[in-house]
Structures are given as structure tokens and as C-alpha cells.
Amino acid sequence: MSIEQLVVEPSQVTVAPRRSVFGKLLRDPQAVITMAILFIIVMLGIFTPWLTSIDPNEAQLSAYNAPPGTPGHILGADQSGRDIASRLLHSISTSVIAGLIGASVALVIGTVFGLIGGYFGTKIRAGTEWLFNLIMTFPGLLLLILLMPVTKGDYRATMLIFGVLLSPGIFRIVRNLVVGVKNELFVDAARVSGLSNLRILARHVLFVIRGPIIIATAFMIGSAIGIQSGLAFLGVGSNTVPSFGAMIAEGFGNLYVQPVQFVWPSLMLGLMTASLVLLGNSLRDAFEGVRPKASRATRRPVTVITESAAADDALLVVQDLAIGYPTPSGGVREVVTGVSLRLEAGKTLGLVGESGSGKTQTAFAVLGVLPPDARILRGSITLNGRELLDLPEAKMRQLRGREIAYIPQEPMSNLDPSYTVGAQLVEGIRASSKMTAKDAKARVLELLARVGITDPRRTFDSYPHQISGGMAQRVLIAGAVASRPTLLIADEPTTALDVTVQADILDLLRDLQQEMGMAVLIVTHNFGVVADLCDHIAVMTDGTVVEEGTALDIFRNPQHEYTQMLLGSILEDTVVRTDAPSRPTTEAVS
């Protein structure tokens, strides 16, 4: 087990007390208001027989187009002399029934097939997926119209079919969740403990999927009500069934005579569908937390510079750097609490610590690529005596790629999947120098050969998914050293690679460093890497440097107990892994 898994980041331990979903809903005014509106509307629908004694289809010629406020007809009557208030109340049941039929059919079909498609093997999954994709690819409303000879226009039969058309949404939700849950440990544990498949599904899966299903149901009821109204507006269905759609059509046709007639059903329909959608949104927030906010991709962190170390002649000087992130409660959580580093030209500094210690954040700060919500709270970073923290983005961009370069940890995710390897490298070179496309290509091929790729032309034309992880890391190294930077920042450059490839990559880095005379800041949790490459070491924990010195001193005589613990666990790690095919770097330590 690696150190990462053993050490818990202290700042993450404090978890806000969990509130129940219903409690959250009651605190959300949008949820309370929409639930109240829907409750009132449904109540009006249920108690319609007691609220009005007028038959919604009874035509009273005397009441023809009666205006609102006419005695006996509060909202007036339509052009057939039918009472609008009564029709409105009776339409509620039509809508609610339509919504419930549509949503229930979709729920039953979607859930059943989703459970089947998600739980069983790939063949059944592919088959059900294909079936539901098929349902999704036909315009539902058109199908409902075309099937009028079959449904006879009855809105309940129509909604049965519409439920089938809605079911792919539920199917996808359920299937994805089941696949996710299935892969989680607790279902495996349940299976080991001898529970039958069916009980596993019932117990675990149905519990996990209830949230997304409740959310989707709110949206589906709204959409079924909307479709039913649309069809009724077109004239699908019996004219003795009062519905908002039919009332809107009648009122709309009567627009120039009694313009207010279409307003009532429109208002009711709008109120119902809007409430359902807004309630769905509130439910989503309550179940899944607030959705991600956009943040400016280009924004530089807020910075307070304490004092620049202009007097120091080192290449890179970091002084008392502190980085924080805003917390939901409005405060700022410091992840780097005052780091000072010093790296001389051509030398190698190892920044060592477990994940969460702030070492990567420090590296990103030097590069000027911290996430947009990060804030540099204080400190100073100078490169060749020049303060980086107050440089405008445009100036900083010129430095990146020319003077400071970066090698990431995970090679695959750091290449754009849509462009060939060559195109990405050419773009980088041309962004940091005035090379023609042809020259840049020649340079990239040369670089690819230099980083040990045997067939540079082929790799140049490959997409990232067509090359191996080790090769991708070589490509990224080529991209980083393309413009002969003075400072190379490598963030765990070997962690994601096969053990056999790790040593090669480290050799390559060392060769390139000597060849180009770069200074290297290497961020790692692996003391083996450090021992192999570094002149100096800085050990970080909890956002601060606890010990620094020459590599030799720290290995021989670690002062801080944290360094001792790290070294100890690495050495144990080495013992466990002695059977690995190639691990020269750690052997050098012992």
C-alpha cells in the first residue's frame, strides 16, 4: 500500500454534518413554493366535484362568450357557452392523470430494463442499449399523431405510448448507476457473503438510484403534461375531455373576440410545468449538491507579494509562498502555508512529500497555472531575479514554454485526444518561437528521436490513444524541452508508468538536463527518484517545508521525524518490491 493511501489529509477530515434530503428541500424556497403550488393544484383537481356543480361540457347558449365575472360563471364561458372555471378545474385531472401515466410507464419500463441492462453481461447490455437508442431516434410527437388510428386519440392510451418514448431517459440513468454500483466494493462484498443477485439489486441498487429517479420523475411528469396539452391543442382526442390544450386552442381561435379566454388555461399549464421543472432542479440540488460553477479559465489568482528576493542569485527563489482555496462557508483553506525554496541554475531540487502536502500546488504556482479559484495569499516567486507573481498573464505566457517548462504526472490525460502528437508539439513550438510550420515539424521529429522514440514519423502522426503510456511521457518530455528551457518542472514524472519504464525515463531526464544545462524541480513522493537525480531535497508536509538540505545529508541524517517516517516507509516499500524486474534507482539508496 502506498503512502497516499495511508496518510489522511487532516484538512479533509472535517466533514460538514449531513442533512437529510427532505430537510434540504424544506430550506430551499424554490422547492417549498413549487411543492405548495403543485399541492394546491392537485387538491383543486381532487376536489373538483365539490368545487363546481357545472358540467364542463354543458353548453349554455345564454352564456355564449360570457366575460369573466358573469354571475354563475366566475371566469366567464367559452364560445360554446361552457363554463371556463369548471372546464379549468376538470382539466387538472386530465393533466395529472396524463402526467402520471406517462411517468409511471417510463419508470417501470426504464427501471426494469435498466436493471437488466446494467446488471447482466455485456451482450444483454448492448442489446437493451440498442433497443432504447432506437426508441429515442423517432420524433415522439409525430409518432403519437400518426398512431391516432390505433389510440383513437384517447389521451390515456396516447400517454401509455408516450411513456414508452420517455423510458430511454430512465433506462440510461438506471443502467449507468447499476453499472457504477456493481463495480463498487460493497456489492462484491454482498456477493461474497452469499446474497442472491436479486437481493443485491433490491437492497443496494434501488437505494442508490432513488435520487436520480425522483428527479427524473418530476421532469417526466412535466414533459408528459406538456405533450398531452400540445396534442389536445392540435385536436387529438375527444372534445368531451376537458384539457388545458383544448381550452388554449379554443381560446386562441377566439383571440379577437374574447382575448382573455386563452389566458386561464395557459396560466394553469405554465404554472404546472414550470413548477415541475423548478422542483426537479431543486430536487437535483438536494440530492446531488449544487452543480459546478463556471470559473474563468484565464483568471490569475489574487496575489499579495510580500517581498521579492531580488538579491538572491539563484535561478528560482520561492519565499514564504501561501496558497489557499475558498471554502463553501466563505473562508479560505490554506493548502500551502509558507513554502520557501531555492534552486540554482543547472541543479536539481527534489520536492518530496505525500499527496496533499501542497507540493504540486507549489509547482503550479511557479508555472502560473493554478486552478482559477486558487488564491496566492502571500509570498514571492522569482525567476532570474524577476518577480513572477505580479507579471501579467501575457508576459507569463511568454515565459512558459520558453524559460519554464512542465512535465506532468499522468501522460495520457495530458495530451489532447483530438490532435495528433505531432500537431500538438508543433503548436507548442510555434507558440513560443517564430518558426515556420515546416521548421517546427523538423524540430519535433528531431526531438522525438532525441527522447528515444524509435519511429518519430509514425509517432508524429499518431493520436494519443494509439501510443503507450511510456511513449506518451517521452512525447511530453519532448514538448517540455522543445524550447530549451532554463527551468524544467517535473511533477511525479514516473509515478504513472510501468516500473520497467520508470528508470529509462529518469535516465532520459538526467541526460537532457546535462545536455541542455537546465535546472530541474522534481516533485515526487518517491525517495528513489530523488536519490537518483537530485542535488538538493526539500521535504514538504501539510503545506510547508519541514526539512531541506543536500540529498546526501538528508538520506544519511534525516532530522525531522516526518522525513524519517517517509524514508522508512520507502525503504520497506523497496524490500517488498525487490522482485520487480528493474529498480536500480531504489537499490542505489540502500
Partner: protein, 313 residues
């Protein structure tokens, strides 16, 4: 790439056969009532039996379906039971009206959604709230209500735009534009609701990815990262939404056309279905499916072109 496109095409054709078959199967349950309605009040058991026989409705459903399918290959889409008009001619005439509406709305939707979605994802703040507000509006207001409100405001009260009627583009482009302006606005507002949300969401996801940071460390300008890299990678899911959007706009236009009395697919389908005009219903079905298949194929090809990984499966 060609192989990939061919595979998608074959999948589309299979889909077309299945959808038309299911429709035909469902319709076959209503053959008797259709015959009854053609004969009207004069229907006798004998006349019903003889018309059923002469229309071929007494044969096995499978035989009838394959005969119909075979007709398609010779360009014979059948003739209307009621007007004796060839189905293909009538359907294409109506389809042009609906397609001009949907294509215009879809183009505008894509332009607005990309601009708004990218701006919302990269700038945040006010423009993000505006984009979310528009999305919410599109979701909570049914298209039907929006259409009616816009007609009442712009056509009845302000008298800026015609409330109803359609002028073909070839006849008078300006009047054509005026006649479809409100319908297009209605479809666009519904369309950008889901499209903008999708583009905003996938742009936010893309911009958080590792490769974006790595590109930044190479000194590549932000605009190039956003437009060349992040947007391209975000376009895959957006294209899926686009093809679904087309399907839903196509459906939605049926209602909208009715509000504005546009002589499109909507009223034609409605009348055919009301009368039980089986050949016309089948013609409409097959044309719609082929349309959907074509649009899906186009988005699949676009996706394969934009996203090299998609070409593999």
C-alpha cells in the same frame, strides 16, 4: 472513416426498417375501422369485406409490409386512400416547409448555444447567469405557450410580424423570413435551453482537464486552447444533443406550425392520422425516419471527424 460512415448508414437503415415495421404492425390493428370510415354510413358487412379485400388488408401483415417495403425500392410510396395523390409528392411538398423552419431554427440554435455556452464556461459571472436564465426559461415555458404569447404580442398587439401564413422562400425571401420569424424564435428558445447547458457543462469539464494545463505551460494562447482544443473535445456530447435537438424540434414544429397555420408536416400528418390514411401515414413515417437517419449520420460523421477516438467504434 468511410467504413465508419458505412457502418452508421447500415445501422440507420436497420432502424428505418424496424420503425416502419412497428408502425405498420400497430396500424394493422385499425385496418377495419379505416375501411369503415372510407365507406362512411353506407358501410355494409359485404362492402367492408370487399373493400378490405381490394385494398389487400385481408392478407397477412408481413406480406403487406414487405410489399410496401418493396415498393419503396421502385420509388413507389403508395397513393393516398382519400385524395389519390401520390404520397411521395405530397410528403415532400409539406416537408420543405417544415424543414426550412427546423433547419433555420437549428442553425441559429447552434450559433447562439456555442457562443453562449463557451462564454458562460470561460467567463463565468454575469454571462453565466444569463445563459442559465435562458436555459431555465426554455425548460419551464412550454413551446406552445411561448408561441401563443409571441403571436399575441408581436402579431396581434404590435402588428410587426404576420400572425399566420407561409410564403415560400423562392417567392419572396423577405416575406418568407417574416413568416417564419416567430416560429423560429419559439423553436430556438426551446433548443438553446438544452444545447447551451450541454456546451457550458462539457466546456467546464474540458477546461479542467490535465491537457489544458499542459497546453498552457507550453505558452499557447488562451483563445487557442479554448477554441481549438477544449471546444473541439466538448463537441462530441454537443453533437449528440444536436441530433436529439433536431428530433425534438421536428416534433415541436408540428405544434408550432399549427399555431401559425403553416402548411407543413404537422397539419398534413394530423389530417392523415385523423382519416386513417394508411399509405400517407406510412409515407410520413418513412420520410421522417430517413430524415432522422440522415441527420444522425451527419452528426456521427462530424463527430468522427472532430474526435479521432470515435472513429474506432
Amino acid at each position: 472513416m468511410i467504413l465508419y460512415a458505412l457502418r452508421r448508414l447500415v445501422a440507420g437503415l436497420v432502424l428505418a426498417v424496424l420503425v416502419t415495421f412497428i408502425t405498420f404492425l400497430l396500424l394493422s390493428t385499425s385496418f377495419e375501422s379505416v375501411v369503415r370510415s372510407i365507406l362512411g354510413l353506407a358501410a355494409t358487412p359485404e362492402s367492408i369485406a370487399s373493400l378490405t379485400h381490394s385494398l389487400g388488408y385481408d392478407r397477412p401483415v408481413l406480406v403487406q409490409y414487405f410489399e410496401w417495403l418493396g415498393g419503396l425500392f421502385t420509388g413507389d410510396f403508395g397513393t393516398s386512400l382519400f385524395t389519390s395523390q401520390p404520397v411521395a409528392v405530397a410528403v415532400t411538398a409539406r416537408l420543405t416547409v417544415t424543414l426550412s423552419l427546423v433547419a433555420t431554427a437549428l442553425t441559429i440554435t447552434v450559433i447562439i448555444s456555442v457562443l453562449l455556452g463557451v462564454a458562460a464556461a470561460t467567463r463565468g459571472g454575469a454571462i453565466d447567469r444569463i445563459s442559465q436564465g435562458i436555459s431555465l426559461l426554455g425548460y419551464i415555458v412550454p413551446g406552445l405557450l411561448l408561441a401563443i404569447v409571441l403571436v399575441v404580442v408581436f402579431a396581434v398587439n404590435l402588428r410587426i410580424l404576420p400572425a399566420t401564413g407561409f410564403v415560400p422562400f423562392a417567392e419572396n425571401p423577405a416575406k418568407w423570413a417574416a413568416s417564419i420569424t416567430i416560429p423560429v424564435i419559439v423553436l430556438v428558445i426551446g433548443g438553446i435551453a438544452s444545447m447551451t447547458a450541454q456546451i457550458r457543462g462539457s466546456m467546464i469539464d474540458e477546461l479542467r482537464k490535465d491537457y489544458v494545463r499542459t497546453l498552457r505551460t507550453r505558452g499557447i494562447p488562451t483563445n487557442a486552447i479554448v477554441l481549438r482544443h477544449a471546444l473541439r473535445n466538448a463537441s462530441g456530447p454537443a453533437l449528440t444533443v444536436l441530433s436529439l435537438e433536431f428530433i425534438s424540434m421536428f416534433g415541436g414544429s408540428l405544434i408550432i406550425e399549427n399555431v401559425f397555420a403553416l402548411p407543413g408536416f404537422g397539419s398534413y400528418s394530423f389530417n392523415a392520422a385523423l382519416q386513417g390514411d394508411i399509405p400517407v401515414i406510412m409515407g410520413i413515417t418513412v420520410f421522417s425516419v430517413m430524415l432522422v437517419v440522415t441527420v444522425n449520420l451527419a452528426t456521427d460523421i462530424a463527430n468522427g471527424w472532430l474526435n479521432p477516438k470515435a472513429r474506432m467504434h
